[in-house]
Symmetry: C2
Subunit: 336 residues, 2 copies
DNA sequence: CTGAAAGCGCTAACAA
DNA sequence: TTGTTAGCGCTTTCAG
């Protein structure tokens, strides 16, 4: 029987099944993008993907166990009809994963009223929906403290992310908090980037241009892409990193480990972020009455040469892995 | 009226719509992976994504115009029940995009009989379905010719891709073809990698280990990830690139431009690949009787320092852009 | 245990 | 024009 069916190549129609069982076995993943279309070989948009990919992978890995499917949409944050796209998307899925909370809280709440919604890497203040995010604050705090305490960098420049990005906000708050704890250190300047390599390059150029009176001791970037842009421009200008100036990122995307000097950054467990968020969504679909919850994942401080560290080729080591601490310190990963 | 509907937050049910209008407005994207689960910080799987992302982006860009949605699945090529996953997926979509033809041709044909299927970056010999791919042959041929003619590299080592990867096969054939045209050059060795950074590292190590009698003049890698692995290991071993040995990749993924020396490679228009494949799929869905067709996209030779070139910071220039030639030559892109 | 029938929520064709 | 109704292809329930 089974054999005959297979032979005929029969596959049940998905919409009919969904309609009948009142479940689609599909979840939607919405990626918000802070992008301006900027044509270039490897453009802004490409790079912003680097951040999402691993999350997507985590989600997919969780989903495949249950034979569910994943619907992906990239939302351009400015455009008007994006909201209607989200609406029609919500009719095709059993639940929604929304990455990067550029969605106003009020919208989130509206969607959450209609179907299960989990925010990924969104604003931890968000109370309307479940949230799964990395612990940006303690990660950023550990990074900045490291710069000040270990490398004695006092004059810090902050390359911030878009105002609408909750992650950037968390990191900014942590930076400010650490500065209040270190009266000897100070913020000598800051500017706002778009999370892209290009905006990092622009920031570095203007820093070099109007930086008469000397460069800061360190540039703290809200993410790795921008730090890469900064590193590239500084390198070309003959500014030595970390001797003349330290540079740090956030996220720990792969290319950061290839640069010379390697990029000191904070590792976000992105794949795990996807897995946890997806698991939570499936839970909520199964049981819609679950109370909203915030899940915060531990980050790792990744010390490479760009902050002034020089461990050479160390075994990847996690200190204080278990227990309370949310920040663990790892040295340069040996790729041998 | 419209306002009232919006106020109530009504969104039509997707499955009911699909069932009624007999169209789902969803296409499926299947990514085949040549992976072995290898846990590491940025593992094999992560890297293989780098290749797909831009394709996904291209597809999504085409889709958003028509308000269709994208269902993504990553298929692990070994596993048994992956085929049944593909089956059930096909019940949820109007058409399928299959990246990387690790799917046996017979399967493709079976699926194509049930619904529109487009192969992306698959085997150009495939006659059962539409195919959209980069012109791997002329790209690889241009690259190898460049190594031999311009840089006088005679003893070539080939780091091949998985036997099941059609792209790798095309590149291999091109390499062999160029060698027959250059009797003075020879293939001094080759090995098979898995398209991952790690397999590139492994290959480089064994090359260093049993390379008694001298290294080859150049290592031609079937893709960028493996070339990156090779570059990393050689660098650590103190082998100078390109002075002691040249290294080349294929694909032109972003990290390759960050390395020192920059990676000479062949640029695949991956985003365009996605767009064209998607456009073709939508055409075929609208008109199922279209005859199968192969669409081959032009590639660019990207010359950076790892092959021996040294243009410094040049403006990106395309020579012979229009017309017949499928390979255009560009110099190192200036990121200023 | 097998087989018929009643929806699932919408669209499209048809009637009024 | 607007209102009604018959499916779309399944699952599930209920009768036989």
């Amino acid at each position: 029987m089974r054999a005959v069916i297979d032979q005929l190549g029969y596959v049940p129609d998905g919409s009919a099944q969904s309609l009948s069982r009142r479940r689609k076995d599909v979840i939607g993943l919405v990626c918000m993008e802070h992008v301006r279309p900027v044509p270039s070989q490897h453009d802004v948009e490409t790079m912003s993907l680097l951040f999402y990919d691993e999350i997507v992978r985590g989600v997919e890995a969780r989903l495949r166990d249950d034979n569910w499917s994943l619907l992906i949409t990239y939302l351009h944050e400015d455009s008007q009809n994006e909201l209607s796209r989200l609406m029609s998307l919500s009719g095709k899925v059993d639940g929604l994963l929304i990455i990067e909370g550029a969605v106003p809280s009020s919208f989130l709440a509206r969607f959450a009223a209609r179907l299960p919604v989990i925010a990924v890497a969104g604003d931890p203040e968000e109370r309307a929906v479940d949230l799964v995010t990395a612990d940006n604050r303690s990660g950023a705090a550990a990074l900045v403290s490291h710069l000040i305490d270990v490398h004695d960098r006092r004059a810090l420049f902050h390359l911030d992310g878009p105002p609408t990005a909750p992650d950037a906000k968390e990191r900014r708050l942590a930076l400010q908090h650490v500065l209040t704890l270190h009266p000897d250190a100070e913020l000598v300047g800051s500017c706002t980037g778009r999370f892209s390599v290009q905006s990092g390059e622009e920031a570095a150029k203007s820093l070099l241009a109007d930086g008469r009176g000397g460069l800061p001791d360190a540039v703290v970037c809200a993410n790795d892409q921008m730090a890469i842009g900064v590193l590239q421009v500084l390198g070309r200008a003959g500014v030595r990193v970390p001797e003349d100036i330290a540079v740090t990122g956030f996220d720990d995307i792969y290319p950061g480990s290839l640069l010379d000097p390697g990029l000191t950054t904070v590792h976000q467990p992105m794949r795990q972020l996807g897995e946890r968020a997806c698991a939570r969504l499936l839970d909520r679909i199964a049981n819609p009455d679950l109370p909203p919850r915030v899940e915060r994942l531990a980050t790792d401080l990744v010390l490479r040469r760009s902050c002034g560290c020089d461990y050479g080729e160390f075994e990847r080591a996690r200190l204080a892995e278990r227990g309370r601490p949310r920040v663990t310190v790892i040295t340069q990963a040996a790729r041998s």
